[in-house]
Symmetry: C2
């Protein structure tokens, strides 16, 4: 394992239980019935543990959207043609896609990364180029990429986060773009969780039921052809993954290593999280599941990682759209911790009759 | 029925189907798979219908938090002493309660209304005084208020919204503060839906299971003593309601009359919405259910009104905290509609293989 990846994994430690206890204790004293902000209270405590600070601030917010192409689109697994990956990245750079709108709405800066889009791009101030190759190979016929390339994707993700940290980064979200990438994500999910391709494969951008059966067959074929090793996340990534999936796994590992909460988006980010957690199980504690995707396999991935999503709005777009909304809830939760007064500070009578 | 209330009710019309069709058609052309933003897409279409505009803006956002005391606290139904109502209103005015934090986070202005808090308040630039009386009477022993007072609460709510409209108001949320008000809300809910007190009564701010049984008995006693007429929402409000519940019902009616989306908070706002919908059934179409409260009766209220909540974060605080988060999602949904480009505008290939 190369140096940067190894060092990053070794930096990942358990959450700070002291900061969590302090945050919980403050939540319990704030002017509201104990527990009455539900999941927002738990979220603030988790973030305190991640940040190693009882009253964290999340002013510097970013979403890393990674894009790449997938050779498996040759098998007819997507409703959209391959060139849409490249066109949508251009749309991100123009500021007119869904993730741009939601990032602006939630005050999150957007970092668009080309991990391997066919055709490439002209230089653009908002585009980070970490191109591995012009798309993966077709996983139905052989490995997506070499093992070396898989390691490169992880290190690229780590490098992107380190560059963002130098600009100030308190919380990071993950997002993806890549026509065909739900097929890869299903294969990664099946290889890691041991669940079947049928359970983990959905209609993605919106294929017919008939084409869904075909997609399940392709995922099975990818697993049978490549025989990824259940215990080796890098082997799984190389054989059935994608450049953006590996890159996002690197983003997640780097965030955990640097005590930064990571808000994961939907199905593709879920596959990236599975790889990161497989490589470094403590990473799980740094993950915030923003939303439950309408893609049915997403719930199985989250269950496998024992994560509860904050939102369930039947979204299935990717791009980090769920992550943007989740980041806003995360920020709200820590503002509660910092800006609300306690019963004592506000001179409000605490629960008296039950001594609670 | 007095003039202002009658006029307001008569102004409530069905949603604008043309604006909704236009918004839906634009959603279907935006650069994302059709339907992939799930409930956010439906929400934007509903708001278009409410605002009678295919591309509405929701820049002017307010939450009206109404506070009042409840005579029924004499029966020992709450975990907190009655003076907390007044203390928490002071906390709102100081900007340090949960709703202040979430309103700032979501860019929503807060309008605090004294509908009848024991002790009253000094004049304060952020406080609207619509005081009906120093708290309701004990509903376990007789009616909460006179029929005339009930009508006054509704007209007070209407007047508050009209004053806000003159300052610019694109969307409004509802919030409440009133120790003992879950008991009133349960009684209102039971009287309107016909469901039992046991089904509609929960632990509120956090009473024990034993005290919950007592609370259910008190709700039943209130219904038996007062015999509110199932078909007369004003009778129900007068006999077992509260000043803030009536005021919020007025807010909801005035918003619907003026084509302004109303984002309702949790259990108390649910009771207010039931009264508004009973008075003017078309009001239902103007309601956006922000979240599902942890108070179990809330789901039954929403089901009765055929509303699906956007969020389920196990919150049960009131104050408009859920409404603030819901308003932010509503604003996000219409920004999507306005700020995203269509496939044609962005030069992105639309779904080709399935002709969709």
């Amino acid at each position: 394992m190369p140096g940067l990846l190894l060092t990053t994994i070794e930096m990942i430690k358990p959450l700070d239980k002291g900061a969590m206890a302090e945050a919980r204790s403050r939540q319990d004293m704030l002017t509201k019935p104990r527990g009455s902000l539900g999941m927002l209270e738990d979220l603030s405590v988790k973030i305190a543990g991640i940040c190693r600070c009882a009253a964290p601030s999340l002013g510097n917010k970013a979403i890393v959207v990674m894009a790449a192409d997938h050779g498996v689109v040759a098998e007819g697994v997507s409703a959209y043609p391959q060139e849409v990956t490249r066109q949508m990245v251009a749309n991100f750079l123009n500021g007119c896609a869904a993730i741009n709108v939601l990032a602006r709405h939630t005050g999150v800066r957007l970092v668009v990364v080309d991990m391997g889009v066919i055709g490439g791009f002209e230089a653009h101030p908002s585009l980070v180029c970490k191109m591995i190759d012009f798309g993966t190979k077709n996983i139905a016929r052989g490995p997506a990429m070499s093992r070396e390339q898989a390691l490169d994707t992880l290190e690229a993700g780590i490098a992107v986060v380190e560059a963002q940290i130098s600009q100030g980064l308190d919380i990071v979200g993950t997002g993806d773009m890549g026509i065909g990438n739900t097929t890869s994500a299903s294969a990664v999910g099946a290889a890691i969780t041991g669940l079947s391709a049928a359970e983990l494969t959905g209609t993605g951008t919106g294929i017919s039921e008939e084409r869904l059966s075909h997609k399940v067959r392709i995922v099975n074929q990818a697993l049978e052809t490549n025989q990824p090793s259940h215990d080796d996340a890098i082997d799984i990534l190389a054989k059935v993954g994608g450049f953006e999936i590996g890159g996002l796994a690197g983003v997640i590992l780097a965030a955990a290593a640097n005590h930064i909460p990571v808000v994961i988006d939907g199905f593709i980010s879920g596959a990236a999280a599975l790889i990161a957690v497989k490589l470094a199980p403590l990473t799980r504690e740094y993950l915030i599941a923003s939303h439950l995707s309408a893609e049915p396999g997403h719930l199985l991935m989250l269950d496998y990682m024992r994560l509860t999503p904050l939102l369930n709005l039947k979204m299935r777009l990717g791009e980090g759209t769920g992550a943007a909304l989740g980041i806003s809830l995360a920020e709200a939760s820590v503002k509660i911790l910092k800006e609300m007064l306690t019963f004592g500070e506000a001179d409000v009578s605490d629960k008296s009759r039950e001594g609670g």
